[in-house]
Amino acid sequence: MMEEAKPIQLSKSILDMKFMKKTKERVQKEQEDAEGKAMYSNEITEEMKKSGNIIFTETSIFNCRNLVEGRLSFGGMNPEIEKLMTDDFTKKKQEVERKKETDISDEKMAQEYSTLVDTIGNKFSGKRNKNKRKFLKPSEDF
């Protein structure tokens, strides 16, 4: 809480104490980072200007295609691996299945609806309805 509000500067003698080794390393790293930032902030090279404003980061195809991890076991060959597989493999498989299911149901829904419209339409254009006389509005002058 205190650190967030105001960074505490520890004196050099405290940092030199034996138990402060970790903190000392951290403080030194922070200082170096700050110095580095200040040094390079006003050095924007031609190359940087030329390369545009999009940052391109490279990654493996594993992340591009959302692949599963390759260590797999089936049919209880290695129960340990199968337990670990639930995190990655089973989850991704289920996701795919779910996607497939919704895909089909959307299509089916449209099909079902179109046939439904036909059946309802048939009801009104059936034999009985065809024979029924239409109501004609009587003319005013009779």
């Binding site: 030329k50 390369s51 545009g52 404003n53 999009i54 940052i55 391109f56 980061t57 490279e58 990654t59 493996s60 195809i61 594993f62 992340n63 591009c64 295609r65 959302n66 692949l67 599963v68 991890e69 390759g70 260590r71 797999l72 076991s73 089936f74 049919g75 209880g76 060959m77 290695n78 691996i81 670990l84 493999f89 991704k92 498989k93 996701e95 795919v96």
Partner: protein
């Protein structure tokens, strides 16, 4: 020049892609693409294949190849070729052997090192893979837990398949591995480097998996699934 990016456009090395989509100024590139210097904010194709785009900002070129180029974070299968002090040399099928520290196993200490020999097979993660540097493997995650990684049993069998097949097999939509699993129990480690380790109840079943994957190299997924269905 490819003006508009359609999925599955065939592209060739040297072509330039304009109108690159980015999210907060960041675009993620998979294999087969490089940043283009002039004009800025464009991409240059480095491999022939099909250009793929995944919203919002991921581009890559999909193509089949056999040479493995190490990429950070890849899970690979490797064979120990040399033991040198505290580190191991691992053949992962790339241009250079990868190094794996003996301390990068779960529960390993300076005094208590893992029992691994030359010729053993390892499933590990690439911690560091740079063009000018030796690739570095680890067998633990960031919490020092092994998880799925570590030495693979000596009962298994190792062979190499094309990288295109690896990407196909590991696609969650692909039915091959699950279909095989319904016929007989087996375990497999498919490395992103194209090396595959298989273990089954007996030699015959291991070889069946091998044959299936060899067939899958040339045939459709449906062929394998059909074969599995018949043999059940």
């Amino acid at each position: 020049m490819v003006e508009d990016v359609n999925e599955n456009t065939t592209v060739f090395p040297g072509e330039v892609i304009k109108d690159v989509k980015a999210v907060k100024g960041v675009t993620i590139l998979g294999p087969g693409l490089k940043r283009n210097e002039d004009p800025p904010n464009t991409l240059r194709i480095t491999r022939a294949g099909k250009l793929q785009f995944k919203p919002p900002n991921i581009y890559w070129v999909s193509h089949n190849h056999k040479r493995y180029i190490p990429k950070r974070g890849d899970l690979v299968v490797g064979i120990i070729v040399k033991k040198a002090g505290d580190s191991l040399r691992i053949d992962i099928g790339s241009g250079e052997y990868a190094s794996l520290s003996m301390l990068a196993f779960e529960g390993a200490t300076k005094k208590q090192k893992p029992d691994v020999q030359v010729g053993d097979v390892i499933y590990g993660k690439l911690l560091n893979a740079h063009r000018e540097m030796e690739p570095e493997l680890v067998c633990v995650d960031s919490y020092f837990k092994a998880g799925k990684m570590g030495p693979l049993s000596n009962d298994g069998f190792v062979f190499t398949v094309s990288l295109g097949l690896v990407h196909r097999l590991l696609d969650p939509e692909n039915p091959i591995l699950t279909a095989l699993g319904k016929v007989f129990p087996y375990e497999i480690a498919v490395g992103m480097n194209g090396k595959v380790w298989v273990n089954g109840r007996n030699t015959k079943e291991v070889l069946t998996v091998l044959r299936c994957l060899e067939t899958a190299e040339l045939h459709d997924d449906k062929v394998i699934v059909e074969l599995c269905r018949q043999s059940k």
